[in-house]
Symmetry: C3
Subunit: 169 residues, 3 copies
């Protein structure tokens, strides 16, 4: 089972995804806590503050993993549900390390084909004016292609705004 | 009863909110016209033109109040339904006057806890590329936090695009 | 019958609109292929690559027309369903040729009043931070006004993200 929470900055998508995975896969002695896979690599002060808020919220409900690049490798042997927070940041890291777009999407498709339960969080960045900056345009494009691929493979897709979700699929 | 209309620039959210409040709370002799609380403070020519269009549309259906800053004070004793047009502008004014984010959100929460009927209009600004500009990022963040708070407190939430609305709650 | 697919960059709106028109109006010997009206005028390398992808996808399912400006003239005598790809680009071309906003919207309204079946694709660009650039603001405004007009006239409206659609109308 694959699930996608897509929404803008501060749309509440992360919080909704966390609540969802804990609700769908209750932490039981038998199953253990779900994983929380953080993809953040570059950390400035602003980012640090954000991460700290996210961490406080997660408290003891998740086992946290950190992997900014090798998403498939990190998820390959997961035997418990995983929340990936977030795909946008992973795309960003991959572009920074000059991985070709086709290879990025190929890896994402492999992740979506794994048998484990994955809940993905993704930023929708394509509803503003098309940016002047070519790099930003490349990111918007890749982000949208990745979103479409997730939209296709995921069993459930939620569109988020104002801390609420609309079921798309 | 609290209601939120959230949407992008020119998504039709104001028009939909106006139609909604007039439909929900018909102007009767007994109850009188609903209030229209305009939060605009800074007015350039472009803004003036926009305001003029909004005013023409409101015609005689509302009693117009103007308050760019003291939202709680303005709404505190309202005995009739109020349309707040819009929360984004109020947030913008509060940031301009260097009110701390926590205080802004505290005041918003107080407004949302009032017993009167309030219909709020709010801009969704978080679905584009994250802005380079730190001030713009601060605004996007605050705007999203405010949206989530409204999403939580409001009884009904509508997401707007193309002059149409999707019910989120 | 008029239909609108609105969504961000790379939201999958074009692909969804193509699938929709082929599903709604199956290519039969009697009726012939639907038209595909491409509105692109200015073509740089990046654009060329995009167009090429779109063309490959269309294959033999459509009869392609090209008209960047005279939308009404091109559609006036259409006897088969038409996919207009896309209204945003047409608005952009009209602004470039300094057609007044009122005249652009007047022509759009005339198109929406034609009796033929039209499926329109349109970019939602109003969910990001309001641009600094006055020309970009003008485009966002016009784009939103056009979207509202299409939302009003169209029988069916779909909001697109992640390659999926939400029915708005």
């Amino acid at each position: 089972m694959k699930t996608l929470f897509i929404g803008g900055v501060k749309s509440g998508k992360s919080r909704l995804a966390e609540a969802y995975i804990l609700d769908q896969y209750p932490n039981s002695k038998k199953q253990g806590k779900p994983y929380y896979l953080a993809t953040t690599e570059f950390i400035d002060e602003e980012m640090q503050a954000r991460i700290h808020i996210h961490q406080q919220r997660r408290q003891d409900a998740f086992v946290t993993l950190e992997e900014p690049i090798k998403l498939l490798e990190a998820l390959q042997f997961c035997t418990r549900p995983v929340l990936v927070e977030c795909i946008s940041m992973w795309l960003n890291n991959m572009l920074y390390h000059q991985i070709a777009e086709a290879d990025i999407l190929f890896e994402l498709e492999a992740v979506l084909s794994l048998s484990c339960d994955v809940v993905m969080v993704h930023n929708e960045v394509g509803f503003g004016v098309i940016p002047d900056n070519a790099l930003a345009r490349q990111f918007v494009d890749l982000s949208g292609k990745a979103a479409q691929m997730m939209g296709k493979y995921c069993d459930r897709v939620f569109f988020c705004s104002a801390g609420l979700k609309i079921t798309m699929k």
